[in-house]
Amino acid sequence: MRKSSGVTAAGCELASCHLCYKLADSSQHRCSRCGSALHIRNQGSTQNTLALLITASILYVPANLLPIMITNQLGGTEPATIIGGVLLLIKLGSMPVAAIIFIASVIVPLSKLFALYYLCWYVQRGSAVSARQRTVLYRVAEFVGKWSMVDVFVVSILVALVNLGGLMVIRPGPAALAFAGVVLITMVAAESFDPRLIWDQLEERDE
């Protein structure tokens, strides 16, 4: 079951530029066309990705436990966490909006973290079962990344919009920053992961 033609760029000592896709001799350090750094495989890709993932996982704890938004209403103060906001939306009867927020700020970041952990583990362990599925997993994790920022943007819009003097003021909570950190760090993690490592497993199995 040989899927590859047997000739790969890496096998010919050629490195593909990650930015403009030009093939160049791997002894060069910069792409001759666009000037990006050139490697056959990103160096320490799995290690960097893992380190970023662990950082994001640690940040994920305060992002969920601390309030993301604090509402001051007629003297009373009401802090709300991410989950609290979703529950409130369900109680107020707007299911579609609750679903958007739940998917964007709970399901997406969590599944992204787990997908990248899994890919790192898989690349290190080395087995070539269904590389195609893993590629799809990586593509999805990369595409979905920025959409988790929705909740941070919602908070910032509400903070700017709702300021009715003493009646009602919305302030951003510390979780907003932590959550933005989680999203951005997982985006960098997805970028630093080298998907070519997934496909290398196919070559190794063939040999």
């Binding site: 066309r33 909006v97 920025k146 509400l158």
Partner: protein, 129 residues
């Protein structure tokens, strides 16, 4: 409320870092990217070699994935639904302008063929130098 005010409001609430991030992602970055796209595509379309093509191309394809105008639009709609429960909301003209901008901008970014762009840049620069 205007677009830059979202970032300013965060700044006033002692969230300088978050204000910087939000302002960067929704005000500065789309503007810069739009200018860079013009600088990249106009010479390519006109077949005119320009000295900055390589560097601008590198910037466009690096910044591309950090552009969050589409995400912000969804965020704006969600917060409108939230606000609509508390107060009446009148949409400003700028909202529709932003919707148009987001749709067009997202379309133009997804229309950009990376390989074709770079092949053209290489050809033009070969002619120029």
């Amino acid at each position: 409320m205007t677009l830059p005010e979202t970032a300013l409001a965060l700044y006033r609430n002692d969230m300088q870092l978050l204000a910087l991030l939000v302002g960067g992602f929704i005000v500065v970055l789309p503007f810069v990217l739009l200018l860079l796209l013009l600088l990249l595509c106009a010479p390519l379309q006109a077949n005119r070699p320009m000295p900055w093509l390589g560097r601008v191309g590198w910037l466009v394809f690096t910044l591309q994935r950090w552009c969050m105008v589409d995400v912000f639009l969804i965020g704006a709609i969600v917060s409108m639904v939230k606000i609509a429960m508390l107060a009446t909301l009148v949409l400003g003209l700028s909202f529709w302008a932003y919707v148009g901008f987001t749709v067009m901008f997202t379309l133009s970014l997804s229309n950009l063929d990376r390989l074709r762009c770079w092949n053209m840049i290489e050809r033009l620069q070969g002619e120029g130098g």
